[in-house]
Symmetry: C2
Subunit: 452 residues, 2 copies
């Protein structure tokens, strides 16, 4: 990628150079650079774009930057821009805009455009209804191919929404879909019924958008029909919108797995205060959970005082438990997101993870024993290696089980993040550690306690 000249061109007021740069640069790169400018400059650079390119650049921005740009533009420019958007993109944008700006934006729409946006807004957030476009052309099963093609030639619906054509009956019930290529290749008198895809996938408008988008991906669809509760066609989810929704869901999962809430805006656009707020709740909850470890250690304070060398291994042991637990949790959470495992697999998962824990724990114990024994004596070596084994088994078991249980309880499994598993495994891991230590080092501990 070339270095970013947009900011330099703007600050030096080099409008000729700026126009030449805008002519030579791709839509995505312009959008990228635009998003990185101060808000006032965004509007200036944007107004220098020819009208047709401006719309493409605008649609390439994410909703956050679209909104920022709108704020910087004059009233009439705003209305023009919104009227040119696809209804589903418009709904997503209006949804994230403050109520005052949303009505300012709606003001520029024709009544028809306003209605289709409003009907989209009636569906719950993150539903298939929000993701669909109500712009499509539907066919009837009894139509001939020639009729269907002539209907397509007359429509004003955007070409990208004509690649898959839903087929309905007289009452708008969905009966099938036809791919545009089969229509093009068929003889003119072939009825549409003969061209319908063998398998009919659909989503309900109130379905979760992630499930609908995942269906588009798994069944390799270019568009998925969306129906209401009476199986009547209400819209289509196109593959580009499905991909965008999946990306947003994956970002959510990944960020949750790291122990914070999704930002909802690009990283560099979020303020420091926003970043801190998204992490504060989890960090605080985890600290509260970690207070358990203080309590556990208090119980064993005498043992610690008697054999101070035990304290040296606390971080190593709890780190290892946390790592083994987050390895198990991450893999299981991903398998659940991809639909590879279900609740009924829980016993098998737990049994698999327990055995994985035994293998890993045995490996670490085998390596840890000679090293700890050389430096701290064979008894301490035995305590450390037995604890490594026990902690690995326990952590893998907990890490594999928690996400599946969370889903069963209606909690997003991604919330069972690596930090959460780590913190939970820590307190229990310490108990295992001191129980093993007390059993093996009973002589030393007894002697020291007697001295005091």
């Amino acid at each position: 990628m070339t270095p970013a000249p947009l900011r330099d061109l703007l600050t030096t007021d080099n409008l000729t150079g700026l126009r030449a740069w805008l002519d030579d640069t791709g839509t995505l790169d312009i959008a990228d650079e635009l998003a990185r400018l101060p808000q006032a400059d965004q509007a200036v650079a944007f107004r220098l774009l020819p009208k047709d390119r401006a719309m493409a650049v605008f649609e390439a921005l994410d909703p956050y930057h679209q909104q920022q740009l709108l704020d910087g533009l004059r009233e009439d420019g705003v209305a023009e821009l919104v009227a040119g958007m696809d209804p589903d993109d418009r709904a997503r944008l209006l949804d994230e805009v403050p109520a005052g700006v949303a009505s300012r934006l709606q003001a520029g729409l024709t009544p028809e455009q306003r209605e289709s946006t409003a009907s989209l807004l009636g569906y719950p957030p993150a539903s298939a209804g929000r993701l669909m476009t109500p712009e499509y052309v539907s066919l009837r099963a009894a139509m001939t191919t020639a009729d269907a093609l002539s209907k397509l030639r007359r429509t004003t619906v955007d070409g990208d929404n004509l690649v898959v054509l839903p087929v309905t009956d007289d009452a708008r019930h969905l009966v099938g879909t036809v791919a545009l290529p089969s229509l093009v290749k068929a003889a003119p008198q072939t009825p549409v019924a003969d061209l319908m895809c063998p398998e009919l996938h659909r989503a309900r408008a109130e379905d979760d958008r992630e499930a609908a988008a995942r269906l588009v991906q798994e069944a390799d669809l270019l568009a998925l029909p969306v129906v209401d509760s009476e199986d009547r066609l209400v819209g289509m989810i196109t593959v580009d919108d499905a991909m965008e929704a999946l990306e947003a869901e994956e970002t959510e999962d990944i960020v949750r797995a790291g122990g914070s809430e999704p930002l909802g805006v690009p990283y560099m656009a979020a303020s420091v205060f926003q970043l801190a707020r998204k992490r504060a709740v989890w960090l605080l909850l985890l600290v509260v959970a970690a207070v358990l470890t203080v309590n556990v250690l208090q119980v064993f304070e005498d043992t610690l005082e008697a054999v101070i060398v035990l304290a040296l291994f606390i971080p190593l042991l709890i780190d290892t438990g946390g790592n083994a637990g987050s390895q198990a949790a991450t893999v299981v959470i991903r398998a659940m997101a991809l639909g590879e495992v279900r609740f009924s697999d829980l016993p098998r998962i737990v049994w698999r993870e327990a055995r994985v824990g035994i293998l890993l724990g045995a490996m670490l114990a085998g390596i840890g024993f000679p090293i700890a024994a050389v430096f701290f004596g064979p008894e301490v070596g035995l305590v450390i290696s037995l604890t490594l084994l026990a902690i690995c088994v326990w952590a893998s078991f907990v890490g594999g089980m928690l996400p599946v249980l969370a889903r069963r309880l209606g909690i997003d499994p991604a919330v069972v993040s690596a930090p959460l598993v780590t913190t939970l495994v820590d307190a229990t891991g310490l108990i295992l550690y001191f129980l093993i230590a007390t059993a093996i080092l009973s002589d030393q501990i007894g002697a020291a306690t007697a001295l005091v």
Copy 2:
């Protein structure tokens, strides 16, 4: 989803019931159930499917289960199946099959099919060349719409590959693309040149497949042309294959973030030994890194012995540091994957994260001081709250910086996983803890040491 009857129907040899179930069930669900069967039963259930459904079910399986199924099928059945696949799916399958099986599979292909598979195999793994299909229909700029449509009607290329049509010159150089809907809507005498999309995206065959797939997503494409080093068209990446590639890449990132290597096969299909092997290297590396914490504590052993209460807070403090560090790392890694931040942003990232750390640390310190002071006295309270502040700032700083540095050094930023950041921050966090403790508690430590 209904409970899985496939295994029951097979074990009871209820072939009539089985056939009825196969008739009533969707392709994706059959593939799902098939993948969960023992290998021998997979082949039996598969052979009961009508030929056209069998291909659909086979393509719905992931490469791992496709291979497993092939192993269970008779020689002639295998060849038939492979010949019916799309060339790009075939190449991906052959790539993952042992050499012996690959040649057995290639044996069933026509020379033309074998050549197109082999040419795909010439590109480096995980390249755009591996992802593309060489099955497309290209147009010329001077053709009329009528000519173009009649060329499409004659072709045997699969309909899904006709949605976007590449336009080339006489020397096969890529000059544009035409969307099938514009072709359908244009007047018969319109030249193809007038219908070409305003912006031409392309990937080079040796490009990284993730970059090519991400371009399909960001530019909302239904297919992306792939060219060789002389800008000659060699294939097309369709949106369904791009989505599949992105899903695989995201799985890799997510699993790496949890501190293990990607499995390459579905979770339930991996053996316990495979699962353990993918995690062993990282777990071992992290334990070796954690040995640092033992060394740090050894240095401060006298301090610990003098004020044993310091030991009680070790897990809480290092957990908090690890959590703050993985929060920062996860968010920055995701922003990099989505192209939101670059290396030149490093100073801004570090400065942002340091301030986020101050906010979070101040919050925890404010809550921690009164609690610790009540139970362990004001001096210990001060040590704990100052350490919480210092550790939060340090961990956010390291967590934000490491992934960006890793990318600069050519390492996958996802490798800078939460576990890695946690482990690295732990040893340094302990040093901070004991430096602060030594400064504030110098009287108590001095007194105790003098006694000894």
